[in-house]
């Protein structure tokens, strides 16, 4: 990759801006009205607005759904600096994402690192184009925080693998085309008996069952494998070498979470909600002084969190490896999103506890559901307890009982 100078970057910005102006479908300036319009791609994708597909295709054409992946695999081949410009130009026009994809966020980076050339050619371009939607087969009923305790058996049958077992918390498995999956290929070892395989969800013996959550939504499935036959060239990396890939992939998952924290910028501001639903005194202060203090404390923590993300980026850019601040981000993000959503419920009072039916606005009906959804933030992708263990041991150097 050529090292672009400032002038080249200015040119790139101008060209990008022009291209976006010409190619961003005007109908997508309207806010997204349904989760069903999330551009997940895949074989069975369908959206309320065809421009969603158009925008995905146009971006994929340029490789900008995976801007920094090599052009050889369909990516954009952009440098870090160019990617920043692309992101800022997309933000400028408030563009919707062109493609939401576990393939891009999680699988792609590890394929680039661990897969054979043949595998890269086979899988990466379809990820970039949004043609294949992937899901992640990691957790099992008996293997949550202790992921390496997984039991899904994968036997070598000579010309193929045979997979039997059960996964849980498989995000959108019922909508996915393919799965990247951790399986046990050696029962005599723990971490060293795990392999990383890919297979088609339409393979006979694969069954998915959506899990209804306490929030009422069903973004996850139980996934069952009964005598599922998988070609042996769909193993990534070495046999029994899957744990290293799994850990690397979890890093990508956590980075993805940390980018904006949970919940992000969306939703009603807590202080605004309290002003509206609780009321203010003559000085403009939220009338419930105790709630006001807790909202202020939350907002201050949230401000610290944003400054910590900024600092961690600046420090790691300086090159001395990942910042120590990075280790706390998942833990802090989960806590903050839970605090925010609890405060929102409290600020809205019983109006924030409406579940369905008349008498509540859509935003009000979303409040308790978001709060319940946020409870998963300290469980999914590593529990807060595991996060604290990791900080204590890896960062602070404390030991286990000897």
């Amino acid at each position: 990759m050529a090292d672009f100078g400032a002038t080249d970057l200015d040119t790139f910005r101008a060209e990008t801006r022009a291209w976006l102006e010409a190619n961003y479908p005007p109908s997508l300036h309207a806010p997204m009205t349904s989760e069903d319009d999330t551009p997940w791609g895949g074989r069975n994708a369908s959206y309320s607005n065809p421009d969603i597909q158009l925008w995905m295709d146009r971006m994929a054409e340029k490789g900008w759904t995976a801007p920094m992946w090599p052009k050889a695999y369909g990516g954009g081949g952009l440098s870090k600096e160019q990617n920043k410009i692309l992101e800022s130009e997309l933000r400028r026009i408030k563009a919707r994402p062109a493609l939401s994809s576990f393939g891009i966020w999680m699988l792609g980076p590890v394929l680039l690192e661990y897969a054979t050339e043949e595998q890269k050619q086979k899988f990466l371009p379809d990820i970039v184009k949004g043609k294949i939607r992937w899901c992640q087969g990691y957790s099992e009923p008996g293997a949550g925080s202790d992921l390496a305790g997984l039991q899904t058996r994968c036997e070598d049958k000579g010309d193929h693998f045979l997979i039997n077992g059960q996964k849980v918390w498989t995000s959108y498995a019922n909508h996915a085309d393919w799965i990247f999956c951790l399986v046990r290929t050696d029962t005599t070892k723990k971490h060293e008996g795990i392999s990383f395989v890919l297979f088609d969800m339409t393979t006979p013996g694969v069954e998915t069952r959506p899990i209804k959550l306490i929030s009422g939504s069903s973004p996850f499935c139980e996934t069952f494998f009964t005598d599922v036959k998988v070609p042996k060239d769909q193993l990534v990396g070495r046999l029994n070498g899957g744990w290293e890939i799994a850990k690397r992939l979890l890093q990508y998952e956590r980075q993805n979470i940390s980018a904006g924290g949970f919940g992000g910028a969306g939703g009603l501001d807590v202080a605004d909600a309290a002003k509206k639903y609780v009321g203010v005194d003559e000085a403009g202060r939220i009338e419930d002084a105790d709630l006001r203090g807790r909202i202020a404390a939350y907002k201050m923590e949230q401000a610290c969190f944003g400054l910590t993300i900024r600092r961690a980026e600046a420090e790691s850019k300086q090159g001395a490896g990942p910042s120590a601040a990075t280790s706390i981000i998942k833990y802090a993000a989960a806590k903050l999103n839970q605090e925010r959503t609890e405060l929102l419920v409290e600020a809205m009072g019983l109006q924030g506890l409406g579940w369905e039916g008349e008498g509540f606005s859509p935003a009000e009906l979303g409040t308790i559901r978001s709060m319940l959804r946020a409870k998963a933030n300290s469980i999914e992708g590593g529990t807060s307890e595991v996060n604290l263990n990791v900080i204590a041991k890896r960062v602070l150097g404390l030991l286990d009982h000897q």
Binding site: S145, L350, E358, L372
Partner: protein, 375 residues
């Protein structure tokens, strides 16, 4: 556990047996999934009536058993354990208390025996916004002939959509924010201009929005002087609800403790991890401290006296903080399984959040306790 007499022990054991065997959390799940928007299962309420639970605080002269508030609190604690939906709070406690404290002899004779028999459901219509604020009552009562006409609306009225008798706080004088000028009225089901709409809440029990338009109401107590009775009734409601929340917290804690003793990760039962042990021990501490406050408040009601404000605010504050903590820990300690609708944890958390807000949340009662204590 409070020191109980023989009657109370029997009542508590009967309530525990019935709720755990006949009315587990699955009953609330079934109520929700029935899609009927009912605040409780009428058949279950009929059984409670047969067991005499509707008349526990009602004097014997009016066909009650006069066992008192501690006894009713013991039943509420047990129904709270299994999240049993019922009008015990709205009717057996609040309705009976309102009539006992504010009713004329005629009103008592008319209504208390029906309450004691489990024959009617009553509802207290007090709040007009999403946050508990009884003194902000604005709903107007205007003299009309011999009686009054009530116009306005109330919201989040527990069991209001199925009530046979509403007790409505209305304003006959003063302005919202004043305690003077508030009066209580009895409004019967089917009265002219009365409308009740179900509000679907997260706890699957819900509440009602009530609108009245020149609806005839019968004065309960003295005009313009309803505040002391209303506050006394509300304090009883807070204490009774706190007892229910204590039971809920107990069961949620015990379910969680069982899970800590059985779930294995990293080759260890997770209850052997010290950080979880300390969190469990802290929850236990909160449970014990809350129980003391709630039982003392119930005993205080039975001991008599006019002013139960500090005791009621203490009980409701502690119960709210407790159930909030315990249900959060219940979900977190269960991990993923606790996030699924198939598990009971979500039911405990959703009921907790509604109960926390009803009749004032932790923040409201902390402020009130300070006010009552003079700082």
């Amino acid at each position: 556990m409070a020191v109980l007499n023989e009657e109370q022990t029997m009542l508590r054991d009967a309530a525990k047996g019935w709720t755990q065997e006949t009315s587990p959390v699955g009953k609330l799940r079934a109520l929700r999934d029935s899609g009927k928007n009912l605040p409780f299962d009428p058949a279950a309420w009929a059984e409670m009536g047969q067991m005499g639970w509707a008349g526990v605080i009602v004097p014997e002269d009016y066909d009650g058993s006069a066992f008192g508030y501690l006894s009713l609190g013991l039943i509420l604690e047990e129904t709270g354990r299994t999240l049993t939906a019922s009008p015990l709070l709205s009717t057996a406690l609040i309705g009976a208390s309102a009539l006992m404290l504010g009713g004329s002899d005629a009103q008592k004779s008319q209504w208390l025996p029906k309450i004691a028999a489990g024959g009617i459901v009553t509802a207290l219509a007090v709040d007009e916004g999403p946050h508990h604020a009884p003194e902000k009552t604005a709903l107007a009562a205007v003299k009309s002939g011999e009686g009054y006409g009530l116009t306005g609306s109330k919201t989040f009225v527990i069991d209001g959509d199925v009530a046979d008798l509403l007790i409505v706080a209305a304003r006959t004088g003063g302005k919202p924010g004043d305690t003077d000028g508030i009066s209580l009225f009895l409004v019967e089901k089917g009265a002219a201009g009365l409308k009740a709409d179900h509000l679907g809440l997260a706890d699957s029990r819900g509440a009602a929005r009530i609108t009245l338009e020149a609806t005839p109401g019968e004065l309960l107590g003295e005009a313009g002087k309803g505040w002391p009775v209303l506050e006394s009734v509300l304090d009883r409601a807070r204490i009774g609800l706190a007892a229910e929340m204590l039971g809920q917290s107990m069961q949620a804690f015990e379910i969680t403790l069982d899970y800590l003793k059985t779930r294995t990760q990293f080759g260890q039962v997770i209850g052997t991890f010290q950080s979880l042990q300390h969190r469990a021990a802290k929850m236990f501490t909160d449970l014990e401290m809350s129980r003391s406050a709630i039982e003392a408040a119930l005993e205080g009601l039975d001991a008599g006296g006019d002013d139960h404000r500090a005791a009621a605010s203490l009980a409701k504050y502690k119960a709210s903080e407790l159930v909030h903590l315990v249900t959060n820990e219940m979900v977190q300690m269960h991990g993923g399984i606790g996030m699924t609708d198939a598990h009971d944890a979500g039911f405990y958390m959703k009921r907790a959040r509604v109960a926390e807000q009803l009749f004032g949340g932790a923040s409201y009662h902390k402020d009130r306790y300070a006010r009552v204590s003079g700082f």
